[in-house]
């Protein structure tokens, strides 16, 4: 009896069809999965000290010897200590460290155990070439095409940033901002050279 009474007072209830409910839940779960994947991807972009650095290929600026630029693969440099410097011609702090980087490179070049790579970040080629000429930079430099290399290191890249990788391909040091001297660079690289 009381059930009948309750039914009479309640408004007529129209339930949402089951297939619509399933569709909505599947859609919501799908959206959450997509967001989780995107979050994971964005976190994967940041390389931490101790991590093995993901392989990449740098295409250097063309010159007389390499009219189409030179392809340098990070994995081909395994066994060497690698310094990767992100720079741009519009970046004033980059100008501050450019002579020190070049001096450091020249001190290691003959030994053949250290590689320097300059990655030109979000720059225009004529200005980048002027920058290289201005500081007489002799180690390989190339544009970060599609910002793919910088994204693999740091999704919030600012320049200058420098990453130093040991002989085994593991990241050992991150420098955010410019180096202040040649000695500062050598203090990091020399122990890695000793570590055979």
């Amino acid at each position: 009896m009381s059930e009948n009474v309750n039914n009479a007072t309640k408004p007529p209830k129209r339930s949402v069809p089951l297939w619509v409910q399933i569709l909505v839940w599947v859609g919501l779960l799908g959206l959450l999965a997509v967001l989780a994947l995107a979050l994971k991807r964005s976190q994967q972009g940041v390389v931490k000290v101790g991590d093995t650095v993901k392989d990449f290929t740098l295409t250097t600026f063309s010159d007389d010897q390499h009219p189409n630029g030179q392809q340098i693969r990070l994995s081909d440099l395994r066994g060497k200590v690698v310094l990767i410097n992100f720079w741009a011609s519009w970046c004033k702090p980059c100008e501050q460290e450019a002579p020190d980087l070049e001096a450091a490179w020249r001190s290691y070049e003959s030994g053949g155990e250290v590689a320097f790579l300059g990655v030109d970040y979000v720059d225009t080629e004529p200005e980048a070439r002027s920058y290289i000429a201005k500081f007489d930079i002799t180690y390989p430099n190339g544009p970060d095409l599609g910002t793919r290399i910088s994204q693999a290191f740091n999704r919030q890249m600012g320049v200058p940033e420098t990453y130093i990788i040991d002989r085994q391909g593991r990241l050992r040091y991150i420098q955010i901002g410019p180096f202040q001297s040649v000695a500062e660079i050598q203090v990091i690289i020399d122990p890695l050279l000793a570590d055979k």
């Binding site: 009381s2 009948n4 009474v5 009479a8 007072t9 408004p11 007529p12 129209r14 909505v24 959206l31 997509v34 995107a38 741009a88 011609s89 519009w90 979000v122 720059d123 225009t124 200005e127 544009p143 095409l145 599609g146 910002t147 793919r148 994204q151 890249m157 600012g158």
Partner: protein, 173 residues
């Protein structure tokens, strides 16, 4: 009857006039070709029309046409240079995508997960509209039912229950 030298001078005159016209025509054509080969320097408006469709990754959320940094100024100069070379807006944008990635575009390319950006907002809007429609319909139905109950002479089950309850209470008193 005309004398021979007079005839010669008229012919010479006609030939020289014809040569003059031909030379004039050739000169006009040459100058037109030179003018078309040299693109006029693109105006700021032309550069900004493309720049506002691009974002420099260094200055996120600032369109290239209003970004004050040196990096963006260099990009605008590059656009101006490419326009002067006769490149189209699409070719310029393609160059920027190839060199700096698709994230420089103000509108994400319609590929892969980017489709969600285009699909989700209208789907959410339509779903919201549908929910509102259903809610309004049920409210209207409730309103109609309430007014029907007020006007109805047939005693409702609820009234019967209240009457019985009151009767029981009276009995207890």
């Amino acid at each position: 009857m005309e004398s021979f030298p007079k005839k010669v001078s008229r012919v010479t005159y006609r030939v020289s006039r014809f040569t003059f016209y031909v030379l004039f025509l050739l000169l006009a054509l040459a100058s037109a070709k030179t003018a078309s080969a040299q693109q006029p320097t693109p105006s700021d408006d032309e550069v900004n029309a493309i720049a506002r469709q691009l974002y420099c990754p260094v200055c996120e959320n600032t369109p290239l046409d209003v970004c004050p940094t040196q990096a963006c100024a260099q990009w605008r100069d590059l656009i101006r240079q490419m326009l002067a070379e006769g490149k189209s807006a699409d070719e310029i944008k393609q160059y920027f995508v190839e060199n700096y990635g698709a994230r420089v575009l103000s509108e994400p390319p319609r590929t892969g997960l980017n489709w969600l950006v285009y699909i989700l907002p209208p789907v959410a809007f339509l779903a919201g509209a549908y929910i509102l429609y259903r809610a309004f319909r049920s409210w209207r139905a409730l309103g109609k039912q309430a007014s029907a109950q007020e006007g109805s002479e047939v005693p409702l089950a609820g009234d019967e229950y209240v009457a019985r309850l009151e009767e029981e209470l009276r009995k207890r008193e």
